[in-house]
Symmetry: D2
Subunit: 171 residues, 4 copies
Amino acid sequence: MFYEHTIELFKKRGVQLEEIAEIVYNLQQPYHPGLTLDECLESVQTVLKKREVQHAVITGVSLDQLAEQKILPEPFQTIMELDEPLYGVDEVLALSIINVYGTIGLTSFGYLDKNKQGVLTRLNNHDEEIHVFLDDIIAGIAAAAAARIAHKYPNIERYFTDRKRDRHGSN
Amino acid sequence: MFYEHTIELFKKRGVQLEEIAEIVYNLQQPYHPGLTLDECLESVQTVLKKREVQHAVITGVSLDQLAEQKILPEPFQTIMELDEPLYGVDEVLALSIINVYGTIGLTSFGYLDKNKQGVLTRLNNHDEEIHVFLDDIIAGIAAAAAARIAHKYPNIERYFTDRKRDRHGSN
Amino acid sequence: MFYEHTIELFKKRGVQLEEIAEIVYNLQQPYHPGLTLDECLESVQTVLKKREVQHAVITGVSLDQLAEQKILPEPFQTIMELDEPLYGVDEVLALSIINVYGTIGLTSFGYLDKNKQGVLTRLNNHDEEIHVFLDDIIAGIAAAAAARIAHKYPNIERYFTDRKRDRHGSN
Amino acid sequence: MFYEHTIELFKKRGVQLEEIAEIVYNLQQPYHPGLTLDECLESVQTVLKKREVQHAVITGVSLDQLAEQKILPEPFQTIMELDEPLYGVDEVLALSIINVYGTIGLTSFGYLDKNKQGVLTRLNNHDEEIHVFLDDIIAGIAAAAAARIAHKYPNIERYFTDRKRDRHGSN
């Protein structure tokens, strides 16, 4: 319903779906050598068609925008400007995105949060813009899209890996 | 209530609380230079005093043990022996541990799952033993204990870091 | 993959999918007057096709069975026999089922847990059998199947209700 | 840190902590005959001292206020005005509150959401005000405070009840 709107929101905030697809590719390619960027993009698009995900994007990006406009009530405005490290609502929202494809996406999410890649690094290097929610949302969408691919190739994945820990990386 | 029993269970499975404390130390020391191993151990012990955590440990370790004894009903026995990569109940249990100290522990959990440290590596290199649940449980406890420390030093943390992403790493 | 096996497990434990469909019908019919039992059954079947759900069913029902056979290690065996009220792993598993269709199923789950209907009452009146996990799993599946129907009829639902609280009931 | 501010926010939105304590009392009194309203109030206050809970309150109430001021970007403004039934971010936030005291609070939350009591009914009968988040937040806090009491009296609870289902109701 809000699929087109969600993609518009990402564009407005400087994020192309192709960039999210690249993160998915980097996460999954080691486990599925034949994986293409197009498949990753399609997986990202499918995740974005879920209403739960659209609502999370609309809520989180709105909060980022309102913080940039400096119209959030205090102390919320300051929490957002400081990107207060103990504020966890951004992770809570991201978790609701990941859960749509099961908990196996949790690992990728934590990994992305520590080892920022591509668009995630860029979002964190802006001084004027506020992306408290957007970066976690993108990491959550990438983790969910990667989990979706892992679910699609259960046997291939098992074939190429010997131990769960490795395979787990594929989630 | 089951605090002593939980520690016994860990010992039986070859895990010392000090080893979990070391993971916590490695996660948090960069953000709290004065942090000691003792404080980390105390944080691990506090996490283990939560009933929710004890129940998760008892359930998960029991399943690992029953799988080693080969008495789980099929196909559950095979799922456990293969450490089936798409099986996510171990992460679900770990998540219930992390949540006790808020979602900021999610990041550390995912990170530990990808970059095994100390005891986590050892648990994954045994061929005879089954630790499908134990490794996620330990990562969950370490993540929760680290989150607890981050919550205890909100100002120090904010002082030493400039950007949330860095600080976030401390969770 | 384990779809047929999951249905077999339910039968073995005395549960017909039609009984779960009835719960779904009772939850959703007030909001969708034209809803049929067949649609509810189809929704239950779709939920059961999710790998995440199959894994939760296999894990939980195995634990119930092992407790009936009295072969769980202590104190887990006693926790299961007492149906220890503060043991929350059964809810944790159920939550992982509900999350597959988003958080709007949370409400129905809590409601079903308090106001047992049909098969849920029967499961709670057996003295010999242990259904610590099964009843929460069934409530979780019914809540997810109901949420799925609510998601399918977004406009109808909005049309027939005036306030979210009422509508919310439909989740 | 934001404890006083959180209580101020509730007052501003017309909610007294005593009203939340009453819900807790109604949930738990059947299982703990000696329970007092004061103990329930103290439990509510303890829940409100958790940073995770304060952040959820600040975020949710801010969104309610911004919606009343009609300054949320579209389509978010309309979603909030309609109290769109399929919007689940309010439940996601409430869940992060409940989780602080473990999953046993899930049941009470769902129950409260269906059988509104006291302040929850009042919040739902206003036409001018928007309480999309506030009612779920209050139900979440009451469920967490009730779970906290259940955790404090594990034996009493077990003593007064025969079957988990009943006892479960106490969570």
